[in-house]
Amino acid sequence: MTIVSGKAEARRRLQSARSDVLRKMWEHRADYAYVLPAIAVMLIVIAYPIYYTIELSFFNTPPGLQLRDKIFVGFNNYTAILTSGVFWQVTFNTLIWTVASTFFSFVLGFAAALALHRDFVGRGVLRAILIIPWVISAVAASYIWKWIYHSDFGIIGAILVELGWAERPPNFIDSVSTVLPSLIVVNIWREFPFAMIMMTAGLQTVPEQLLRAAKVDGANAWQRFWHVTFPHLRNVSTVTILLLAVANFNSFIIPWIMTGGGPSNASHIWITHIYELAFGRQRWGVASAYSVLLFIILMTLGYFYVRALSGNERKDGSA
């Protein structure tokens, strides 16, 4: 067996193989051994659960999860979701949460990466400090911020009172109107370092010579950024934004630990809502139907994610 390299070779091989894929698969049976462990784990922990979720979404299953006693109900679980008022409230929250968290995390992270791109004394230390929130556990982060937002002894409330901007410490996470923005601040605190790392890595691939050439030609800082740096970072930006959007859409820990979705559902997002439906109220059917809807949304996002990634691949092949 020879070691195969190069996309042209691969394409040629694939074309000739189309007629008898099975024979090819047999010839390459040794190659599959390398990916088999990864695929096996994935199948057990992903494919099986997806199948199971879809099945459960068409049944009513008793609270104790006695699978033998489940009753087929068709699309009832789905109509129950779409006609409930909570659904629209939670969807609205999720939208605000995802868009605001993703936008600010990306902008702050990108700006931090740019500001840290030029070397100066203490740059390494500063970068390390900015990354820490991303590394520590979301549970720890939630408790730290819960304490900061505390309605009696929280430091932000105390500062506001000290400065004379408030009569008494405001209720950040116990009030319907401020709870979601307050949690988004915590989420951005945890997420922007990821964007910073990705964009830092991206910035290092921008060719120095191009920037210098642009400078010689009289381009100012903004023009150099907009016409040289930014086009180089388009792929990284797309991947980063998609990963952030997916991660934010899938957040659970921060709202769950800090508020549990309250007060009166004001900070419930899809994932916390699904969790509560399943493990809190044990409405397995409705929770599974929710999961299937979520699944469809994510597959759509996933389509763009794969397209962004394979955009990278194609460029790699042509270069």
Binding site: I39, V45, A112, W147, I148
Partner: protein, 296 residues
């Protein structure tokens, strides 16, 4: 010296003005980000060295009047029940995270290598199928996995966690490592093969050492992910002696709702291992991203 530079800067001041504006903007921004990032962590540390009484005051003691390490002593003392629990949770987290990390590397390295080097039917499909795992939240898999774990008798074992944690570390691990292998010239291996090495030898002696930064980055990522994971641990484990730190701390807090110094001390100690690990090895992580994932 200064007069010379002043003359120069005065001469070019018109051109420099704009650039300096950007630079100052960057500095102000970095100071803001530093405060945003660091103040919550500083407040955590300051609270953790207060007594319970000192923490619950209004206006707060900006700097603790009588700093005390009581909270840390309590958590680290194997003699009392709080300390026993905390140390046990810590140990559990360490075991689960280490097992996950080792297994991730063992599973991800060959897979990434195959995705990078071999062309077999379904390669692209399988690669993107693996990456797609990143898209889905834990909650989707929670109910069926709970049923699955119950069926194979893994509920209330650390094995259930290691198995699940493996899958969310794998996609990024494989992606990062594949980028690394893509950048290692095939000719190196071919040369080794001509010199009589088997394919496995060429892999172990040539490719593995060159991809060490990628493997380290992968390992850090898996370890941190497993260390911080909460939902599965919260759902799969119910026995107190098996809990990992995030769940253990939550349980601790629900029993001692006003012990904020203790909670902050516990949060701090839970963060120390991953922060230290990451700071020591972060250059590998950024390098792996640069050379592996982003360089296209």
């Amino acid at each position: 010296m200064s007069t010379v530079s002043e003359t120069i800067s005065r001469g070019q001041s018109a051109r420099r003005m704009r650039v300096d504006g950007w630079r100052w903007g960057g500095r102000v921004f970095l100071v803001f980000m530093l405060l945003y990032t660091a103040l919550p962590m500083i407040w955590m540390l300051l609270t953790s060295i207060k007594s319970g009484f000192a923490a619950m005051q209004f206006p707060p003691q900006w700097w603790p009047d009588q700093p005390t390490l009581d909270s840390y002593q309590k958590l680290l003392d194997p003699q009392n029940s709080v300390g026993q629990d905390f140390l046990r949770f810590f140990w559990n987290s360490l075991i689960v995270s280490t097992a996950t990390t080792i297994l991730s590397v063992i599973v991800a390295v060959p897979a990434a290598y195959a995705f990078s080097r071999f062309t077999f039917p379904g390669r692209n499909f399988l690669f993107f199928a693996v990456l797609l795992r990143n898209m889905f939240p834990a909650v989707i898999f929670l109910v069926p996995l709970f049923i699955l774990m119950r069926a194979i008798g893994l509920v209330n074992t650390h094995g259930s966690l290691v198995l699940t944690y493996l899958t969310f570390g794998l996609p990024l691990a494989i992606w990062l490592l594949k980028g690394f292998y893509d950048n290692i010239p095939v000719q190196l291996e071919q040369a080794a093969r001509i010199d009589g090495a088997t394919r496995f030898q060429a892999f172990m002696l040539i490719v593995m050492p060159l991809s060490t930064p990628g493997i380290i980055a992968t390992a850090i990522y898996s370890f941190i992910g497993a260390w911080n994971e909460y939902i599965y641990a919260y759902t799969f484990l119910s026995k107190n002696e098996q809990l990992t730190l995030p769940v253990g701390i939550q349980r601790f807090f629900s029993e001692n709702t006003t012990d904020f110094p203790g909670l902050m001390a516990a949060s701090f100690m839970m963060s120390v291992p991953v922060v230290v690990l990451f700071l020591l090895l972060q250059r590998y992580f950024v390098r792996a991203l640069t050379e592996g994932a982003v360089k296209h």
